[in-house]
């Protein structure tokens, strides 16, 4: 994008997308599917953070929770209530899966906010896999629970009969667009914010603009902190909405 390798060392150099490069952790060389890369490192750190918050933090099983245990319980209660409220009581068995997605996204997003870090959720490859998993499992659950009745999701019985085929076409298109919007929303939000911060950071090299640049970075960072949580929330709540459609296809 803004990368201009030729003008290296001359004035402002923008490499806002370099932070998204996947590279091997140990030595150089091609990136195979099994190579230990910065992706591995930051995903591993998200697992570590999860273990710290959800397992180590709650290890005392205190009746009056400590701060760490409160965070774990808060996360549990937040997602559990969301699943129950949005997808219904019969969606509670799927709670661990949604919790897995939510915790991974929220932890990756926040780890990605650390300076010099790599944001795993800013890559379409990552979010698309999650979105496809959600899409496929929701579709399978829909057919498994309702049989052919799941197709009534597309046949809106409350609309006039003449409109129904047109509506069905729109519904089907929107259904198949779900994984695309689901994945690009998250990756796009994460990528855009980080790239903008990097652009502002490049401006900090000019003494005259640097105070403004620092202020802009701070403001963007605050916004990104908000976005990090909101996008994880949005991803999880949309999963719940899709799950609700699968469990109760009738409008």
């Amino acid at each position: 994008m803004a990368s201009s390798g030729d003008s290296k060392g001359e004035g402002l150099v923008f490499h806002p997308m370099d932070q998204f490069i996947v590279e091997p952790l140990f030595g150089a060389g091609p990136v195979h599917w099994y190579t230990v890369t910065n992706v591995t490192l930051w995903m591993g750190l998200s697992v570590l953070a999860l273990i710290l918050i959800m397992v180590v933090g709650t290890s005392k099983r205190a009746l009056v929770p400590s701060r760490a245990q409160s965070i774990g319980e808060l996360a549990y209660g937040f997602v559990h209530k969301m699943v129950e409220d949005v997808a219904g009581k019969d969606a509670v068995p799927y709670f661990p899966y949604i919790m897995t997605l939510f915790m991974f996204i929220v932890l990756s997003n926040f780890l990605g906010l650390l300076p010099m870090s790599f944001t795993t959720t800013s890559h379409i490859a990552v979010t698309a896999v999650m979105a496809m998993v959600v899409f496929l499992s929701v579709t399978i659950i829909g057919f498994a629970k309702n049989g052919v009745g799941f197709l009534s999701l597309f046949w809106i019985s409350s609309a006039p009969l003449a409109l129904r085929p047109a509506l069905a076409l729109i519904e089907i298109i929107s259904y198949f667009v779900r994984p695309v919007s689901h994945s690009i929303r998250l990756a796009g939000n994460m990528m855009a914010g980080h790239a903008v911060i990097k652009v502002f950071a490049a401006f900090a090299g000019v003494a005259l603009i640097s105070p403004l640049s620092v202020v802009a970075i701070t403001a963007m960072y605050a916004l990104e902190t908000l976005v990090s949580f909101i996008q994880a929330y949005v991803f999880a709540i949309l999963t719940c909405v899709y799950l609700k459609d699968a469990l109760h296809p009738h409008h």
Binding site: S3, H15, I21, V22, T58, E73, T100, V129
Partner: protein, 181 residues
């Protein structure tokens, strides 16, 4: 990142180690990311479903149970306190009744004793009063006799001083007549 010069490393990185276009669209890395994502998600899922979630839900339900129990215990204690207060009030009432009874009986006892004492005192007083009256009568008689004597003496002395002669018989009769009048 900008120090890498290995051009053959990837088709998505230029000779200066910078990204060409969006690294997000580089398909060379997709398999790596997908592999590690699956590993990570499976790890997170097992950590959550085997360790974290059962533990947290147990803690939360235990807390809920404790709160419910404590509330019930508080309710019991409250009713006990109300009962205790009632018992206390009843005891107080009983004690008050008992006290008034005791006071009543003590009062009547004292009154009886007082009556007896008053009667006795009255009798004593009556006896003493009659004795005193007798004594007073004797004294009065004596006094009357003495008055006559004294009057006689004084009169005779007065008459003597005035230069008269005393007729003791007429003097006695005059004094007797004056004393009667």
């Amino acid at each position: 990142m900008a120090t890498k010069t290995d051009v053959s490393m990837s088709t998505c990185i230029d000779s200066y180690g910078s990204a060409i276009g969006m690294p997000q669209l580089c398909t060379d890395w997709a398999s790596n990311q997908i592999f590690w994502l699956v590993v990570t998600l499976v790890a997170i899922f097992f950590v959550l479903s085997r360790l974290a979630l059962p533990r947290i839900s147990a803690v939360i339900s235990e807390r809920q149970g404790t709160i419910t129990n404590d509330l019930a215990a508080a309710e019991n204690l409250k009713s006990e306190a109300v009962q205790a207060e009632e018992a206390y009030k009843k005891a107080l009432e009983d004690a008050r009744l008992e006290a008034s009874k005791i006071i009543e009986s003590a009062k009547s006892e004292i009154k009886q004793e007082l009556d007896v004492a008053i009667k006795k005192a009255d009798a004593d007083i009556a006896v003493k009063a009659s004795a005193s009256e007798e004594a007073i009568a004797v004294i009065r008689k004596d006094a009357l006799a003495n008055v006559k004597l004294v009057a006689k003496d004084i009169t005779s002395e007065l008459v003597k001083v005035l230069g008269g002669k005393v007729d003791s018989k007429s003097l006695t009769s005059v004094i007797n007549a004056k004393m009667k009048g």
